[in-house]
């Protein structure tokens, strides 16, 4: 049984009479001890997928199809109480916007203690000590002082590390981290990534990491899912995705990485064209076809097939052959 199994998940947002298809038939599995990266276009549904896993969807979201199983238990059919029980020891989340993780009027210390409510055997003092130790683990130098501060009194990167500490305090089976290191300098980012790797081996917990930084993917992920227009357009082991990307979107994405371009470029490469329309009715053809340099006529009219390229390796494309 997989730790996490998402099958054919589809989700819409209703806003002002418009229906946005934010996730379309998304499937992925995560095994215990694995680090899975989710990369892709801005607005392609990565944070939405994370919100489903964590049960934090806004009111205007509606799951129209699919199942999300954590160790076999379907999250979506579970009553609220059962879902809450899964949070904490089950799933913990590092949000893209660390300001959202904390209540602005309470100190960091108070909140880190409250987050540990599932640890019924520990006193508040024990929990405060755990919190302080965890802040030190994520590289905060004066953790005792940090506990006394309010969220707005921390720099962006300190807030981000406090949010990571908050999630790790739950010792979750599955950690979902949405852009966890964007506010950190690369030396601190490297320290955090190594910490996550170590925790993964210690607890056999799995990590799903959402990032735009392909360097982070290269450093820590075992497998990668690439999203475009609400779909997973390619999945595979990190080495294959980096060295032999199959989907034209993945290829274009890797080519745009400024880290891969030597010297000083006068202009940075971009993928020409616009993001795909997600409002219903979504066109039938491939979402990437209008921007794809290799598009065939059928790409614009027929939905692309999911071509299996190997075990846990596939691409959603008319042009790819197995």
């Amino acid at each position: 049984m997989s730790l996490l199994e998402v099958t054919d998940l589809s989700l819409t947002y209703a806003s002002d009479g418009v229906v946005v298809e934010a996730l379309r038939d998304v499937s992925l599995t995560v095994e215990a001890g694995e680090v899975v990266g989710i990369v892709g276009e801005s607005g392609s549904g990565k944070s939405t997928l994370a919100a489903v896993l964590n049960g934090l969807l806004p009111d205007n979201a509606r799951i129209t199809k699919g199942a999300v199983r954590i160790e076999g238990t379907d999250l979506l059919t579970l009553p609220e109480a059962g879902r809450r029980r899964l949070r904490g020891p089950g799933v913990a989340m590092v949000l893209q916007d660390p300001m959202q993780a904390f209540n602005p009027v309470l100190t960091i210390g108070r909140q880190l203690v409250d987050f540990q409510h599932h640890l019924k055997d520990l006193s508040r003092a024990d929990k405060a000590a755990r919190a302080e130790a965890m802040l030190a683990e994520v590289g905060i130098s004066d953790p005792a002082a940090c506990l006394r501060r309010f969220p707005h009194e921390l720099s962006g990167g300190m807030r981000q590390r406090a949010a990571i500490a908050a999630a790790l305090l739950l010792t979750p089976r599955l950690l979902v981290a949405d852009e966890p290191t964007t506010a950190l300098d690369v030396t601190m980012e490297a320290q955090i990534l190594h910490l996550l790797r170590r925790l993964r081996t210690d607890h056999a917990g799995a990590i799903v990491i959402i990032t735009h930084h392909l360097g982070v993917v290269g450093e820590i992920c075992d497998r990668v899912h690439v999203m475009y227009g609400g779909q997973i357009v390619e999945e595979g082991p990190v080495d294959d995705i980096h060295h032999a990307p199959a989907h034209p979107y993945t290829q274009a994405l890797i080519a745009c990485d400024p880290a891969a371009i030597p010297g000083r470029a006068a202009r940075l490469p971009t993928i020409p064209g616009r993001p795909p329309p997600l409002r219903r009715p979504v066109p039938k053809g491939c979402a990437f076809a209008p921007r794809c340099p290799a598009a065939l006529p059928q790409c614009r009219t027929e939905a692309p097939p999911r071509v299996v390229l190997g075990p846990r390796r596939s691409a959603l494309c008319h042009r790819v052959s197995p």
């Binding site: 916007d97 130098s141 950190l184 990190v238 990485d257 400024p258 880290a259 971009t270």
Partner: protein, 326 residues
């Protein structure tokens, strides 16, 4: 030519948080001397908590300096008339893009709001045109901030900051949370504005690859002090400060075959409240000697346009960096 923005020996203190100590001031930055010319991009890099955002806020007049002078086109920011000018001629992109947008103002109104406040001409199509510049569809105008993805919110804040054609833009992590293609679009847009309108840009970023492509000069901060400044290409090719060297070596590699087993730099960043004696970087520096823990290095010239604050800067630049960028 006077610089668009100049900082001379600037220091900034912030109130120390908490309890009865609330009135005490904590020194965040000091000895900051920098300038940005018309059409120039200065990259400000540094570890988390080193004071980049604090400096950025002071640069556009949102925070007073505690010592030294900040000037906009030769006028001190302490002058109210200069601060009034800044309000239309300078803009800031905030690190927290979504938080900088009011939750109840639609995207369309948010981007034209600066025009409305300053009574500039605008019509129904203006918002759509401004959104198109940052790669957003016109129908996004009806959305509210909470209905945007992280990257979409970031793009809206860019469109808003550029509404008044500023002469100076202070951009705090303008591309964090954007996919690399959109990131390229935003940076190319800023490059066009530099070329066509002479925009002076202060770019705060953790992304060295990006800094390498878009900035002319680089200033590296550590614990609220400048540790290195110079032309970007020279600093990245031959860093003079071990922290700069560490940044370059720690840059994560997208190729999983080049994955490293140990982080290049380890250890804790000292706290500002208990600033260490000697060099602030000594606690994490692989080359630290006794002298570094006793004597604070000052920022000193190394070559024309280059400065560094390390006792061993000359040795540093003569060594090859351990892991080079492509």
């Amino acid at each position: 030519m006077t610089a668009v923005l100049g900082a001379r020996d600037v220091a900034i203190d912030l109130p120390l948080p908490g309890g009865f100590l609330a009135r005490r001031q904590l020194n965040i930055l000091s000895g900051i001397t920098l300038s940005v010319d018309k059409g120039e991009t200065l990259a400000l890099v540094g570890e988390s908590g080193s004071g980049k955002t604090t400096l950025a806020r002071a640069m556009i007049g949102l925070l007073p300096v505690s010592a030294g002078v900040l000037e906009f086109r030769g006028q001190p920011l302490s002058d109210p008339a200069c601060r009034r000018r800044l309000r239309t001629e300078a803009a800031m992109l905030f690190q927290d893009a979504r938080g900088s947008l009011s939750p109840r103002v639609s995207v369309g109104n948010a981007v034209i709001e600066p025009l409305a406040i300053h009574r500039r001409p605008r019509d129904r199509a203006t918002a759509g045109r401004m959104l198109a510049k940052v790669g957003l569809a016109p129908e996004m105008a009806a959305r509210f901030p909470h209905e945007l993805s992280g990257g979409q919110a970031r793009r809206v804040s860019v469109a808003r900051a550029l509404a008044l054609d500023p002469a100076l833009l202070v951009a705090d992590e303008p591309t964090a949370g954007l996919d690399v293609s959109v990131q390229g679009e935003i940076l190319n847009l800023l490059a066009d504005l530099r070329r066509d309108l002479g925009l002076a840009l202060v770019l705060i970023s953790h992304n060295l690859a990006m800094v390498r492509h878009v900035s002319d000069r680089i200033a590296v901060l550590y614990l609220g002090r400048l540790v290195e400044t110079g032309p970007t290409d020279q600093v990245l090719a031959r860093p003079a400060h071990p922290y700069t060297q560490g940044l370059i070596a720690a840059e994560p590699n997208p190729d999983p075959r080049k994955r490293r087993d140990h982080p290049a730099i380890t250890g804790e960043i000292p706290s500002l409240i208990a600033r260490p004696r000697g060099c602030g970087f000594a606690s994490r520096c692989p080359f630290a000697q006794d002298r570094c823990r006793a004597e604070t290095p000052t920022l000193r010239p190394l070559a024309p346009g280059r400065e560094a604050a390390c006792h061993f800067a000359e040795t540093m630049t003569s060594q090859p960096i351990r892991e080079t960028i492509p």
